[in-house]
């Protein structure tokens, strides 16, 4: 790559939220006319950084320069004015509008007060043709698939005259051939002089598209590499991304018993639109066994969990011990002794505007100590909430405060404590220690391990690879809804696992 001008320069960006430092001393230089990737784990601070660059949030410290001149963005409009466009991970489209309406909204071509549809159509088809983005401007967005929607988002940005494009996890929702199409579009755009900032954690994809790669870890930039100059592998990047500071739960012995608790055969979840999000997975978990599923977020983990709990409809067979529960209600499954720690704790696991002791009942409202037959037992629930608060170190002044008042980590501790109550036979857990501080993390691990000792079967999903390796008895790697590899937690390293998750190589 030649020594070209710098399109975007960020210097010393800091951003603090109550209790969390999202960005600390971020420094980034993006050369114009290149595709620059920013990689990092979930929660590393990529999204916050991009929101700052797009004017959606203000940095506490630091400067932003676009094409050499320092600018202050108070709103997205300022960023748009400076030629920056953003393609959000969750598309910002009105489903009941046509493609054309979505693209021109906010900067419409007019002729004498009237919308000039002819001119709009021409403008759009010109831009589309220049960049190889085929769309029919007159169809409703609701009729389009994700690939098309993403093209519209890119067109929206180009239509507004942006020359710097930010794409936030653009491939998360795409199937492989759509990813290929996107990449060829991005290469075209680059040829025409556009600058592309590409946020991702799929390392194989990053390596195939990016001219430069900046790695962010725990809110700070840890390095920039140029894959055209240096020889970098996905493995090297994964090492930079993961680091090795986190405490590692040490595996303790083998407690696997003979009795099979959960049998899953050929489970599939089909999204509206026909894409298989979970594609025929099968596995077994025995009493005292922890099965870990490794995978980059969005590859079907959440859907597997929801399908196992009967929240999402799925095909295939799910057996709990000797009972076929494929068609059973969520409540039935819970009553059998399945504990569930869902991925999205605020939406799925908590009543934010209810006191902690009512949250203790949630999901367990049919059982002691929360209920006696038809009647609720608030006294029992309160007493047991106090137990959870003590055992799991939930930091709260009282069990009468609303769940919304707790920090995320303390909410999580309450949920874990709740789901581990009532001696579950099977625990289905997503990111059980996400957002929890280091000390409490170890305590949760101990709780899970002790229960496993007593015969608990666990299905574990975690973005924290050390946790996954440290707790699991065996690990399966999930990619695009399918198991693509097995890993032995006794020998695999987080780096190897990370590489396998992105489909870049084989785990040991």
């Amino acid at each position: 790559m030649s020594e070209s001008s710098v399109a975007v320069e960020l210097q010393g960006i800091w951003k603090r939220f109550p209790g969390v430092i999202a960005n600390s001393n971020i420094n980034l230089k993006v050369a114009s006319g290149t595709v620059h990737a920013i990689v990092g784990e979930n929660g590393a601070g990529k999204s916050t950084l991009m929101k700052i660059l797009y004017g959606m949030q203000k940095a506490d410290e630091g400067t932003i320069s676009i094409n050499g001149s320092a600018l202050v963005f108070n709103s997205p409009s300022d960023a748009i004015g400076a030629g920056i466009g953003m393609v959000h991970q969750h598309f910002m489209l009105a489903d009941n509008f046509t493609v054309l309406e979505n693209i021109i909204l906010g900067s419409e071509p007019k002729s004498g007060g009237k919308l000039d549809f002819v001119k709009a159509r021409k403008l759009i088809s010109d831009i589309a043709a220049e960049n190889g983005l085929a769309v029919n401007p007159d169809v409703l967005v609701s009729e389009l698939g994700v690939g098309d929607r993403q093209r519209i988002e890119i067109l929206k940005v180009l239509y507004r005259g942006a020359h710097i494009l930010i794409l936030d996890e653009p491939t998360a929702v795409l199937v492989p051939h759509e990813v290929e199409e996107l990449f060829s579009t991005l290469r075209d755009l680059k040829k025409q002089g556009f600058t592309v900032i590409f946020i991702s954690h799929k390392l194989d994809e990053v390596l195939s598209i990016a001219d430069e790669i900046t790695v962010i870890r725990q809110g700070t930039t840890v390095g920039t590499v140029n894959p055209h100059v240096e020889k970098v592998s996905a493995r090297d990047l994964a090492e930079m991304m993961v680091g090795n500071e986190l405490p590692t739960p040490a595996s303790v012995g083998n407690t696997i018993q003979d009795q099979v608790v959960l049998t899953v055969e050929n489970l599939s979840v089909i999204a509206t639109g026909g894409k298989a999000i979970v594609d025929g997975v099968s596995f077994k978990i025995r009493a005292g066994e922890i099965l870990g599923i490794a995978g980059v977020e969005g590859n079907g983990q959440a859907e597997i969990l929801n399908a196992l709990m009967g929240i999402e409809s799925a095909t295939g067979k799910v057996m709990f011990q000797d009972e076929d529960i494929s068609k059973k209600s969520t409540r039935h499954r819970r009553d059998l002794g399945i504990g569930f720690i869902p991925e999205d704790r605020q939406r799925q696991a908590l009543l934010l505007e209810a006191p902690l002791w009512e949250n203790r009942m949630l999901g367990h409202q049919t059982k002691a100590p929360n209920a006696k037959g038809f009647w609720l037992n608030p006294r029992g629930a309160k007493a047991d909430t106090k137990r959870i608060v003590a055992e799991y170190d939930v930091r709260t002044p009282s069990i009468d405060v609303n769940a919304s008042a707790l920090s995320g980590g303390n909410q999580q501790k309450l949920i874990v404590g709740r789901e581990m109550s009532n001696d579950p036979k099977l625990l289905i857990a997503a990111h059980p220690t996400r957002g929890v501080d280091v000390g409490a993390q170890a305590a949760i691990w101990d709780h899970i391990r002790n229960a496993r000792q007593a015969g608990l079967a666990v299905l574990l999903i975690s973005a924290d690879l050390d946790e996954l390796i440290g707790l699991s008895d065996s690990i399966k790697v999930l990619l695009r809804g399918k198991f693509v590899a097995d890993a032995d937690p006794a020998t695999v390293t987080p780096q190897e696992l990370g590489t396998a998750m992105t489909g870049a190589g084989r785990a040991a």
Binding site: A349, L351, E353, R395
Partner: protein, 361 residues
Amino acid sequence: MNLRRLATSLIAPAIGLGVSLAATAIILISIGASVTVIFSSMWNYGTSPRAMTLMLNLATVYFLSALAVSIGFKMNLFNIGVNGQYILGSLAAAVVASNLQLPKAASITVTILTAMLVGAAWAGIAAWLKVARGVSEVISTIMLNFIAIGIISYLIVRTSIGTETGVNIRGTKLIPESGMLRGNAFIDPETKVYGFLFISIFVGVGYWFLLNRTRFGFDLRATGKSASAARTSGVQSTRMIVTTMLLSGAVAGLVGLPYLLGQTGSYNLQFPTEWGFIGIAIALLGRNNPLGIAFGAIFVAFLDVSSGQLVLEGVPREISTIMQGLIVIVVVISYEVVRRNQVKSEQRSVARALAKQEVSA
């Protein structure tokens, strides 16, 4: 903590009351009436034994209506159809009761069950339309209100269900005294407090128990607070919608009974048909809490009754309706503002309390 919560939940109604009293005072001044004279006249008449009795009687009706609405509100269902449910329920109850020759207790039990059944059935149509056909209950219950009025007018005017019960008043046959629940004149010697007052207190207590002390109530409240979390916890949403709508309709069926069994003994074409709307307002004032609703019902009934004397002072009694409207709109806005602030302040106070813990530890 709980005291604080109680205090914050009283802020909004207090603001509503304050603003509406102030606005009313301004209105009174602007039409040249004396604020002190008017307010003291309302207070003096409103606290007389007769007015107190009328107030309790009206409050009984309002209380039931608001309970019916609030069952739905608790899980974000809008039963705007209490009007239709209670007029049909009352008519059916009147027809059944007028043909019963049973001991009082049995007769009244049958009458109550009839009213609840019919109210529930009418609400059930809206429930079915929502669950099976995806029709919003807001619009379907409004339509069902109009249809109920048509059905009743047909039945009373054109079938043998209606007879001439007074001068130019058609209504159902009179209920025999054995089927009435006239109550006792224990406040004012001339006017009786409806016997249904006690039944509605019982319904209110039952409502509280159902919501706060049963598994069903927990499922219902959980669905209202977060439909997705409730679903994850094992609540079946369609079944909840149907059950809740039926329950709401069953309670709505009772709304006309205090008046029917305590006063008219017949459903006629002058039977009030709009008690459902005031129920919405009172449910909002009382925050769907039976005790709050009881206070709200008494307060609104007080305004309605005490304003009856205002004609003597040359002020239209509808000033009470304006006050009610103002209170509701100010209260819902202040509830929303208070709720937002409460969430923030609770988060701050938790953080403060924890910081202290850490220091002492």
